[in-house]
């Protein structure tokens, strides 16, 4: 234990230097832990907002970019699936339900002088109840030129069933307000107006093509068979459509966010390496200026591993203090950073119940950061300590 108290004394003797290296470790640990937590928060966010509708297959026109996500703006460029191909899809995927989707946008007047540009989604009346739920009011009756309004749009412009609105220059009424759907990967009606396909064609002109076709699969296990059927029937000679299901998109999202997390942790790791170099430097200076003392200790009976231990204690104390402070600070700051980052990233979105930013994973990152901090400290202390313990006592004693 005498060597432990030596280590403590020596760190105290050079307290400025010790403090600086502790700060270095703190920064490293905070960097690694909070960046890890940030990545984790993004991950949790994605998992919670993507409504996991595993029973949906989305078919979009094939683009050279290979974009599979319907929200990808590149996919919105003129490319569309002709009605003839929709029929082929319908036949290929029978008995599963094939839902062609029309999407456009137009200027909308909401009354009381308020107007804006809104997305218009056109669906066959019989398909609407399958994809969308009503929160207020009712689905438009057959041949009734009324529309459904997404929940956020309705809230923003005070639309209730019966409200009047003008799309382009066509007057119409709200038949119902849709239930919130969240960030889905097929259609996002929360900020849109949903109309019947007849109304849509009438309004935008009769284009017999669709930007997207959704296939609702009755049994999850059949997703692969359905995709396979579309691939062989439609894409046999050349690739005309891209087929994706929500599982795959979720997987892609996860992969992207996993990579972001790895990247963030990597940045944290670099700061820790800098901290480690600092410890190496401190320990090295400490060894060099104490060579004489080490020689005396060895001369009167301190074993090599005693000396080794003394320097390792020093590195360990620095690492431990730095890591503990760093751990506490990152638990607090990482939490705050996550909250702020989420707020920035998700303005206007709402989350499902019980959404948690700070979970076991976040604590795992803090623990990882701390372990890494202590580990690098000890590793950095190892070489100077080893060198100090292997000096010949007489040679060491002669140095002043």
């Amino acid at each position: 234990m005498i060597f432990f108290s030596f280590a403590v004394r020596n760190l105290r003797r050079h307290w400025i230097r010790s403090t600086l290296s502790i700060i270095g470790i703190i920064i490293g640990v905070i960097a690694i832990a909070s960046l890890g937590m940030m990545g984790n928060s993004i991950n949790l966010l994605v998992a919670s907002v993507i409504t996991d509708i595993g029973d949906t297959v989305v078919i979009t026109p094939h683009t050279a970019f290979g974009g599979t996500f319907a929200g990808d703006p590149r996919a919105a460029v003129d490319a569309a699936i002709p009605a003839r191909e929709v029929e082929m899809i319908r036949r290929a995927t029978n008995p599963h339900r094939t839902i062609p989707v029309l999407q456009g946008a137009d200027e909308v007047e909401f009354g009381r002088g308020k107007s804006g540009y809104a997305r218009i989604i056109g669906l066959a009346p019989e398909d609407i109840p399958i994809l969308l739920n009503i929160a207020d009011g009712q689905y438009p009756r057959q041949n009734q030129p009324r529309v459904l309004v997404g929940t956020h749009l309705a809230r923003e412009y005070g639309m209730i069933p019966g409200s009047r609105l003008t799309i382009g220059n066509e007057n119409t009424r709200v038949s119902g307000v849709l239930a919130e759907r969240g960030l889905a990967f097929d259609i996002n009606p929360d900020y849109a107006i949903v109309v019947s396909d007849a109304w849509y064609r009438n309004h935008f002109g009769d284009k017999d093509t669709y930007p997207m076709v959704i296939v609702r699969v009755s049994d999850l296990d059949e997703i692969d068979a359905v995709k396979e059927a579309i691939e062989t029937r439609i894409n046999r000679r050349e690739v005309v459509v891209d087929v994706a299901d929500s599982r795959e998109i979720l997987r892609q999202y996860r992969e992207i966010y996993r990579q972001i997390t790895v990247f963030l942790v990597g940045i944290g790791g670099i700061s820790l390496i800098i901290a480690a170099v600092n410890i190496l430097n401190v320990t090295y200076i400490s060894v060099t200026e104490r060579i004489h003392e080490i020689g005396i200790m060895r001369g009167i009976g301190a074993l090599r591993h005693d000396i080794l231990r003394m320097f390792l204690y020093e590195a360990m104390i620095l690492g431990l203090i730095g890591s503990i402070i760093g751990g506490i600070v990152s638990a607090v700051s990482g939490y705050l950073v996550s909250v702020v980052a989420l707020e920035l990233a998700t303005t206007g979105m709402t989350f499902g119940e019980g959404f948690m930013i700070f979970d076991m994973n976040a604590i795992g990152y803090i623990a990882f950061g701390m372990a890494f901090g202590i580990g690098t400290s000890i590793t950095a202390g190892l070489y100077p300590a080893w060198r100090a313990s292997h000096l010949a006592p007489v040679d060491a004693m002669r140095q002043k």
Binding site: R298, I300, G301, A302, D306, V394
Partner: protein, 224 residues
């Protein structure tokens, strides 16, 4: 007494290779020290006395020749074994005292005990030897830098005695002391020798050398 010499030097040389040419600090020294001897090593400055003492204390290794301690050749021993030897059997008083600057007088003396035992007994023993070399209790907590040369020398002697070693190696133990304190220290060393310790000391002072029962004279690294 056993017939095996405590120390046996056979053809021991120490050569320092320097850019300006090799320095021969010890030149083919052969000598024997039996258990319980009291030896004075004398010679002019730079003749190799400290080098010889460091070899005896297992601190330095010869360039050529063999050194046997109680019949065991020290170059065959591991570093840990040699360190334990220094810790448990050898008491060294260095010419430059070599106290640890970070530690107080009493902590310096305690250090060799603390390497093996607990604090409580070490304090008692440290106080005992410090009193024996005439250091006042008020100086116990002083750092080496706050002590006079003579006081530092006595603390160094106390440290060498604290583990009750078999062999006491002292490099000019009275070099910084007045006659009265010097005599007290020599009486202490003589008493330790009577209790069975082998004492080897370097000195320039013939009066001090008179305490010893044998004198080794060394000139230019050679025993004469």
């Amino acid at each position: 007494m056993s017939d095996v010499p405590l120390l046996l030097f056979r053809g021991v040389s120490k050569i320092y290779p320097l850019p300006a040419g090799d320095v021969v600090a010890l030149d083919c020294v052969t000598l024997t020290v039996m258990v319980g001897e009291f030896i004075a090593v004398m010679g002019p400055s730079g003749s190799g006395k400290s080098t010889l003492l460091n070899m005896m204390g297992c601190l330095d290794v010869p360039t050529a020749g063999e050194i046997y301690l109680s019949g065991r050749e020290i170059s065959r021993m591991s570093d840990d074994d040699l360190t334990r030897l220094r810790r448990d059997r050898i008491g060294l008083v260095f010419q430059q005292f070599n106290l640890i600057p970070l530690l107080s007088a009493i902590e310096n003396v305690e250090f060799p005990i603390l390497l093996t035992t607990a604090r409580a007994e070490s304090r008692r023993r440290a106080v005992e030897v410090l009193s024996a070399v005439g250091i006042e209790a008020s100086h116990f907590s002083h750092k080496p830098g706050e002590l006079s040369g003579g006081q530092q020398q006595r603390v160094a002697i106390a440290r060498a005695l604290v583990n009750d070693p078999d062999i006491l190696l002292c490099d000019e133990p009275t070099g910084n002391l007045d006659t009265k304190t010097g005599t007290a220290i020599m009486d202490l060393l003589a008493a330790e020798n009577r209790r069975g310790k082998t004492v080897i000391m370097v000195t320039h002072d013939p009066d001090v050398a008179a305490y010893a029962r044998r004198t080794i004279r060394i000139v230019d690294g050679r025993i004469t």
